[in-house]
């Protein structure tokens, strides 16, 4: 048999999530009636979630304009109750919601824009760790180089997108008119710099391939083979060294490790 406490809690959640007013018969009425008292909680519930969407996705809101952003907010709150203890994560399912919503899915760049903003947030509060330095690389004996593997900073993510959403994001951020949405395969690297600010920059196809290679546990020997096969570089080793030094300077690399260790970072997106 259900306890009365459990029943009241079920009724209250039904009132908050679905507007069901069965609970009102169990609410004390006086100067305010039961519906008025209940509506304070119902209004507060939606306001709180609305504020999170607003705060987490300011550029998306700007892109959509007031009417469509309102439609997104109302639809998302109705469709996706929070399964999280912290509101920080409430909008994590937003890109999937937008991809599946009958209206918003007609404009797939919208879900991609949301996914980019989630990606920025994820890098912002990813785990801390020290980054490796160029000195660390220089101290590694040449004989160990072929089996050298990389462990990346936890904030580093590859954002692969079939739309020009980062260009759209940047234009809106600078308060310029955004470019028209275009289908174009793009790969962006998102990370948190040493001042704890989130940065991103586009990755050339070869850089993207090599990042994926190392993220999946590949070593320098495999990376050099990829460079030799896919570029016109006269020296694959020099090309790789240039790339590694650049990544080290950007703070992307957490650790340089010797062969056969399983990767500890999974490519994201």
């Amino acid at each position: 048999m259900k306890s009365s406490l459990h029943q009241r809690q079920q009724q209250m959640m039904q009132a908050l999530l679905h507007g069901n007013d069965e609970i009102t018969q169990h609410i004390v009425c006086d100067t305010l009636d039961a519906q008025q008292r209940l509506s304070i909680y119902q209004t507060g519930y939606r306001l709180r979630l609305r504020e999170v969407i607003d705060n987490d996705h300011p550029i998306l809101g700007h892109y959509l304009g007031d009417t469509l952003f309102e439609q997104l907010i109302e639809g998302y709150i109705d469709a996706v109750p929070s399964a999280f203890r912290s509101l920080r994560y409430y909008c994590d399912p937003l890109p999937d919601y937008l991809s599946n919503d009958p209206f918003f899915s007609q404009h797939p760049q919208i879900a991609e824009l949301a996914r980019f903003e989630r990606c920025l947030l994820d890098s912002f509060d990813a785990a801390d760790c020290d980054s490796a330095s160029t000195t660390t690389l220089q101290q590694i004996p040449a004989a160990d180089w072929p089996t050298l593997q990389l462990r990346f900073h936890p904030s580093l993510q590859l954002f692969n997108t079939p739309f020009n959403v980062v260009d759209i994001w940047q234009a809106l951020k600078a308060e310029h008119l955004p470019p028209a949405p275009q289908q174009q395969t793009a790969c962006w690297v998102v990370w948190r710099n040493q001042e704890r600010l989130t940065e991103f920059r586009s990755a050339e196809p070869i850089e993207q391939t090599l990042l994926n290679c190392f993220l999946q546990g590949g070593d320098c020997s495999l990376a050099a083979e990829i460079i030799a096969a896919q570029t016109n570089a006269t020296s694959a080793a020099n090309e790789l060294l240039t790339l590694l030094l650049r990544w080290l300077a950007l703070g992307w690399i957490q650790q340089l490790v010797h062969g056969q260790s399983p990767p500890n970072v999974t490519p994201v997106n």
Binding site: Q9, M13, R37, S82, S86, R88, A126
Partner: protein, 283 residues
């Protein structure tokens, strides 16, 4: 004065992180919202640790959902304990309420019916949480806008009973007592006078929004005169209790909150002096 007395504190909020480090304001301690720091790293954790090196802290949670009839969230408690290991807070608090059911969080502090069933249920869960955390929990009275026809006792009777049965402590929110007294038409002094002084470890002060027909606990205004008056009553009854001001919206510059905290300091100084004079006179 008990050795748990921390003095006068503020809620640590993101817009003030940098100011706190740069100006090292005259604040005795900070209270953090635990959930805001349940992240892996980055700026929130950096500021948390840097400020913790300079100030005592307490942890205040908003989603333990101690009154819910769904099972305790062990993952949440594990994260809370991990954060406590990092922060080494003077104490950990949450609210005497429930926040969700069946895996769905309302992110609101929902009131409980004041029944024997609820006392037993909540007390048993507090005991489990205290076992997991290895310390006594402080529970705060919430502002409420509705009460249930099921309730068989006053809020203060319920609060005392839960705390006694679970052997936990109280974070008495003076503003919440005021807000609920307006919304449910009771005398806030009756509430204060019923509370067991031995259980009270901390006071909260905050502002609210008075919409005429009722009052909402918005934390977006200065502390109002009526709440200051009730704080004075609380000081008379409970003596020196660690006090902090919460501000969560319409957040002013840090110095403005420090100035407001100084009102609490002055009020406590004069009230407690009167109290000790009275105690001497009657001893």
């Amino acid at each position: 004065m008990s050795n748990h007395y921390l003095g006068f504190g503020l809620g640590l909020r993101t817009p003030h992180f940098q100011d706190v480090l740069e100006t090292q304001p005259d604040v005795d301690w900070f209270e953090i919202i635990s959930e805001n720091f349940m992240v892996a790293g980055g700026k929130p954790k950096y500021y948390l640790h840097a400020i913790r090196e300079r100030y005592p802290m307490v942890m205040h949670g908003v989603s333990m959902s101690i009154g819910s009839t769904e099972p305790l969230d062990k993952d949440y408690l594990k994260q809370l304990k991990q954060l406590a290991n990092e922060v080494q807070p003077a104490w950990i608090s949450d609210h005497l309420c429930w926040t969700g059911l069946d895996g769905i969080n309302s992110h609101d502090l929902l009131p409980l019916p004041y029944t024997e069933e609820a006392i037993n249920h909540v007390a048993e869960r507090i005991i489990q949480v205290q076992d997991i955390l290895g310390r006594q929990l402080l529970l705060e009275n919430v502002s409420s806008y509705l009460s249930y026809t099921d309730s068989a006792m006053s809020e203060w009777t319920f609060y005392n009973a839960v705390v006694e049965r679970a052997d936990c402590l109280m974070l008495l929110d003076i503003n919440n007592i005021y807000v609920s007294s307006r919304n449910h038409h009771f005398d806030p002094e009756t509430y204060l006078n019923a509370i067991n002084p031995a259980r009270v470890r901390q006071f909260h002060l905050a502002g609210h929004s008075d919409v005429g027909t009722h009052v909402i606990d918005t934390h977006d205004h200065d502390v109002c005169d009526s709440v200051w008056a009730l704080y004075r009553q609380a000081l008379h009854r409970f003596g020196p209790i660690s006090t902090m001001i919460e501000r969560d919206d319409n957040i002013p510059p840090l110095q403005q909150l420090v100035d407001e905290l100084n009102i609490a300091r002055q009020l406590a100084a004069t009230t407690l002096q009167d109290r000790s004079v009275r105690e001497v006179a009657y001893s």
